[in-house]
Symmetry: C2
Subunit: 690 residues, 2 copies
């Protein structure tokens, strides 16, 4: 498993090949490069936007047909309705899990831990393939349409990243995914900034923002186009926008206490969620899923059956509530018209003027359920008992569903859970502070924020996303307060959801700051003892045996000066060595170095050595060399990276860590203290005018 | 002048003192440290919020009284009204310029270039003193209240930074300032992120956001408290919030063309603004202001007189326009009630049902003028002729005012200019596309964004600020489009306003990416040739003479091993040497190194050597040593930084630049290539669990 993880290398290798390329390019190339990057950003935006529209359109239509059919059937028979409902869900989930297990195993789960890993500097095999993209798109249509307790937001982020990876800009894609999922361009950028990328170049920001905005425009255009009804059920629901700008936008100081309580609940439930999912995922990974794909399929189908049973069965047990009087100001009908989206679902009620509050939550798409929970001017729509039942059941379902072999996001389930207990608190507040103008929906929103904060531990990006999806800037300070508390409470127990999952998947994330112990360690203590290095001109047989004897990916190259002293001349990557071995073009008979860089004729296509190639898919065992070849030599000088970053042996590990992390490195050489200083570089030396 | 600029040093100096301190602290200290930091963040938020409220309250009241009095007087005599108006403005500006010239010279201008410099790693003398804070607060009340063509936003950012600097967290303060100026917490964070800081630690982000949100809460609370009218004129105007959420929030594709035109105009006018202000400021700096403070005072007073004359005189020349019919939907009265804020100012009009459109813009606080320009449902309020007149006059005033010795921001003038031509374009669009639902106010908003984009070249933060101040998320893609164009157009001509001004002020900013030429240079070529270094044990007389002979701030320290080879043992800072020389406590008679770090008793208080001290205010010439002292020795080993970052001599300057810039360094040692590699550090070596 470990072998599927490999570090990424962003180093510029200033070797002979690089200088050749630079010489050919000249300054105009920079412009060309900029234009291409922006064009790619545009493409990523459009691509991610369209993918998001496609997923939403499909999900909404599948779910829409499903509910329409079921509602039509239950007017005749609840048993038939239930069976059909169960069957449709099962088919959708089955198709999803089949796509994942048979076609694109890397597309299971949310994908965010993997993307996080990628942008932290580790490549997980298969995570950004085209195949994964396809699997993710179609798989998430099945799993979300099939009514499981999961969302399509995580998968959308992964989808965006896959699309962007085709064009080499994963960060852009990640932001685009969030922007598409929530129609929140600013939130998308902040998400990429805060949660995902480890090292950020400020010139990247504007481009990422541009991509997010393109996504927003694409999505808006598509929705405008579908507004007339030509897209079936899409247009009325879908993209999660809970516009509660009409809701309570002021608050009094008495309310801060219940809001703080929501924050604490969010922290506790969120941390519990992380803990439970960690253990279950651990068990799944190490026992259940080891038994093969068939078990994964059975498992997903079983979860689908349970989910259908609960979401259909529980509302049946619930007594209906009489409708409130019609309030022309809010314009909300009770019960809602058949085949429509909205509050007050009439389900298994005997009389006409009744509704089933549990069905309003359960027997609905998640987006609609959340919209109902967030809705203003609907106090007393939900009884505390129903909310509590729903909370417990849905929380359990979300925990159990997490980790099945289907594409699954945790945003929407998190919002569901959070807004349920938020509304529950809201009910008590409304009862308690009778005279205040309080909306239960506001509390539901704060609950949602608190649960996400307690589980994912995102801060600023989450805050902005919540503001953007609810389109209400005035709630910002309240959301902040709640997030601050829930994150602090959650942090007391465990790490964030994505970090936990990354740990489970053996993705070695480097945190943003060095751990405390590093202060007392030196670079020398941290690194391995015996260095495996190459001489400048090396026998092919030696290369082969060294590469076979270990799994290291970088090797120092040592040369001798004329006076016989040794000198480190650079770093040779395993991947480049493999290219050299495979092509054989640069083998030479003489064990002497070729004359000088420039004059030497390099037979190899240089392009391969400009960038650190990934050794993915190539291994030393795949290369077959004749015994003649093995007797030849290679001069490594033109291909190596002549100036890797170096640190003196007794530098503390904190400083090394900062260097490694801030510059996104893969290898650092630990060297002895220098004998003298050739010069000092200060700010003044770097102030070179263009 | 150059000597007032000094680099900042964020290096951790892992010397003996540091280890002592670490040993004393232990792990609990980390918690204490975190709590203190958050508490400080809270304080900064509250402080900046209160400062902003105080400035706004004062400005609004001064301006309110001024206009009230003038309006009351002109009902009797326009001449008397004019004289009083002129006099009040003059007094306010005079007091402002006196505060600046006599008391806090560093508080002149916007302060943003200096803060930018600070966070880029250069300390400009006096820029963050308490005295500067006071000067900034009171000075900007005078200059803004006095009706000059400048804003209070830049000064507020500086104010925030000063407050934060007292507690050692300038970045937080900078974000808080923006948040306070625009009531835009997210925009504040992004501003700090994008425009100001050069190196960002992701753990900082949440704290910065927290501070911004605290500011938002403080400001909101104060405004709520003043809502009842107890704060005089404050509450009705002030904090720039132009809520146009009722305005056009949809757009058709035909409109994209005029919007692009606005972007181009913004780019051109913005670049022109930067160019003109650069030249005028250059002239001021090198000729006018060299003549002393009296000239500065005369200049500011003259500018005030001209501004008063134009803003009172020009509307007089303008014929009044008959009022439009009263529209109960918009609820806007014409002419506005006396003593009120609003559209349709009746100024020098003969009849009752008339208003003066030029006075509506000119004879008003800037905030109100902008509110009028942004207002929806008021098509045809302004004639094209008036807008053009206003644009030309105000643009000229803004250029001339920029650089006078008063606190001055460029945000609000920029918004004024931009929204004027934006509305002008809007008028044509409304006439041209008659059937569409178009609001001139929307175009004014886009114009404002375009001018700021064309001048300041900020992108994402500006976008978010515009969205937050107009409280309308739906315009985001349009604002983006306009900004993208105006920034691109502006970039074709010159740098952003703040970069230009920083250049003028000799603030050596390091851009976010290395310039192209650096690719072809090596570290050795960039640094100075002859290194001035110290031996480990050095004679005091030598220290003095070396420090006197140059202005360098860091010196390598070279020791000899037993076998006689040289060895670089660290970097000694000038500031630390000065401390040693001044206290004399660590002088020793023997020229031999003291035994070892640990056993040696250091007489000096170690605290001074843990952090890189600033040599500000201390110079080698201030230190007086007896001839006995000069014969003594100092062992530098316990005080130096044992592991500065090093680069091999032939590393390309691009890589050195990235190292310097990303880690926020002050000194890098250029050393010879190492003779061998002791070990390699990879990701695996840094994965140490806490
Ligand atoms: N050439 C080498 N000689 C000796 N030890 C090495 C060498 N290269 C790496 N090491 C050590 O071996 C361990 C693993 O090295 P490896 O190259 O596999 O790096 P890694 O952390 O797994 O990252 P990557 O994803 O690049 O493989 C590290 O502890 C490192 O210090
Ligand atoms: N000890 C030294 N020996 C020789 N040259 C040095 C030394 N220190 C610095 N220099 C060179 O002198 C020039 C100016 O050095 P200085 O120390 O003043 O740095 P600076 O860029 O002005 O930044 P600072 O704000 O720290 O002074 C730089 O070009 C640098 O390469
Ligand atoms: Mg490895
Ligand atoms: Mg200097």
């Amino acid at each position: 498993d470990e072998s599927s993880v490999e570090s990424l290398d962003y180093e510029v290798i200033e070797n002979f090949a690089y200088w050749e390329e630079q010489a050919q390019r000249g300054k105009l190339y920079v412009w060309y490069y900029v234009v291409v990057k922006w064009f790619f950003a545009l493409l990523i935006g459009i691509g991610t936007g369209l993918a998001a529209v496609f997923i939403n359109l499909s999900v909404e239509n599948f779910a829409g047909w499903k509910f329409e059919l079921t509602f039509w059937l239950i007017q005749k028979s609840y048993v038939v309705g239930f069976l059909v409902y169960l069957l449709i869900n099962l088919v959708l989930v089955y198709s999803s899990v089949c796509i994942i297990t048979q076609f694109a195993p890397a597309a299971a789960g949310s994908g965010i831990p993997e993307i996080k890993g990628y942008l932290n500097g580790v490549d997980i095999h298969g995570i950004l393939l085209f195949r994964t993209l396809i699997g993710k798109v179609f798989g998430s249509i099945g799993s979300v349409g099939g009514g499981l307790a999961l969302g399509k937001e995580g998968p959308l982020v992964h989808t965006g990243a896959c699309i962007a990876s085709l064009l080499g800009q994963v960060t852009c894609g990640c932001a685009a995914g969030v922007a598409a999922a929530f129609r929140a361009p600013v939130g998308g950028v902040l998400f990429a900034l805060e949660e995902v990328t480890s090292w950020w170049r400020s010139q990247l920001m504007w481009r990422v923002f541009f991509t997010s905005a393109v996504v927003a425009v694409v999505v808006r255009t598509a929705m405008g186009w579908c507004g007339s009804g030509i897209c079936g059920h899409f247009g009325s629901g879908g993209f999660i926008i809970w516009d509660i700008s009409g809701a309570q936008d002021d608050y009094s100081f008495e309310e801060l206490l219940p809001m703080a309580v929501i924050g604490v609940i969010g922290g506790l439930l969120g941390a519990l969620f992380n803990q439970l999912t960690f253990h279950i995922a651990y068990w799944r990974r190490n026992f259940l899923h080891k038994r093969g794909n068939r078990v994964k399929i059975y498992e997903a189908c079983l979860v689908s059956l349970i989910t259908s049973l609960i979401s259909f069965g529980l509302p049946l047990l619930r007594k209906c509530t009489p409708c409130p009087e019609y309030d022309p100001k809010s314009g909300i009908e009770c019960p809602r018209a058949p085949g429509m989206y909205g509050n007050y679902v009439n389900f298994y009620c005997s009389k006409d003027k009744e509704y089933n509050d549990l069905a309003t939550l359960f027997f609905n798409t998640q987006d609609d359920a959340i919209r109902n929970l967030f809705s203003a001017k609907t106090s007393h729509e939900f009884s505390a008992q129903s909310l509590l039942t729903f909370l417990v059941m849905f929380y359990t379902l979300a925990v159990v569903t997490f980790g099945t072999a289907v594409p699954a996001g945790q945003f929407v389930p998190g919002i569901m859970i959070g807004s349920t207990y938020g509304r529950l608190v809201g009910i008590f507040v409304v009862n308690f502070y009778k005279k205040l103008n309080i909306e239960e929906g506001t509390y539901a929103l704060l609950g949602a924020a608190s649960f996400l904060g307690g589980s994912m531990r995102m801060t600023m990006s989450l805050c902005v996303i919540m503001v953007e999806i609810t389109n209400n800037l005035k709630l910002l300070p309240l959301i902040m307060l709640v997030l601050l508390i829930s994150k602090a409470v959650g942090d007391a127990f465990n790490e964030g959801l994505y970090e936990e999952q990354a740990r489970l998947k053996n993705i070695p994330l480097l945190g943003s700051r060095p751990v405390y112990e590093m202060r007392r360690m030196t670079a020398k203590e941290a690194c391995g003892r015996r260095v495996i290095s190459f001489p400048r001109v090396v026998k092919v047989a030696d290369v082969v045996s060294i590469l076979q004897s270990n799994k290291h990916n970088g090797f120092p190259v040592i040369d001798h000066t004329r006076s016989g002293e040794t000198l480190v001349i650079g770093l040779m990557l395993r991947s480049h060595l493999l290219v050299l071995l495979q092509s054989k073009a640069d083998f030479q008979h003489s064990p002497l170095p070729s004359d000088s860089r420039g004059s030497r004729f390099i037979r190899h296509s240089l392009n391969e050595f400009v960038k650190p190639a990934s050794s993915k898919g190539m291994s030393i065992d795949d290369i077959h060399l004749s015994s003649d070849d093995l007797e030849m030599y290679i001069d490594l000088a033109p291909f190596l990276n002549p100036s890797p970053y170096i640190v003196p042996e007794d530098m503390s590990l904190t400083k090394v860590y900062n260097l490694f992390r801030q510059l996104g490195l893969r290898h650092i050489f630990v060297v002895p203290r220098p004998s003298h200083v050739i010069g000092l570089i200060t700010r003044k030396d770097l102030l070179i005018e263009e």
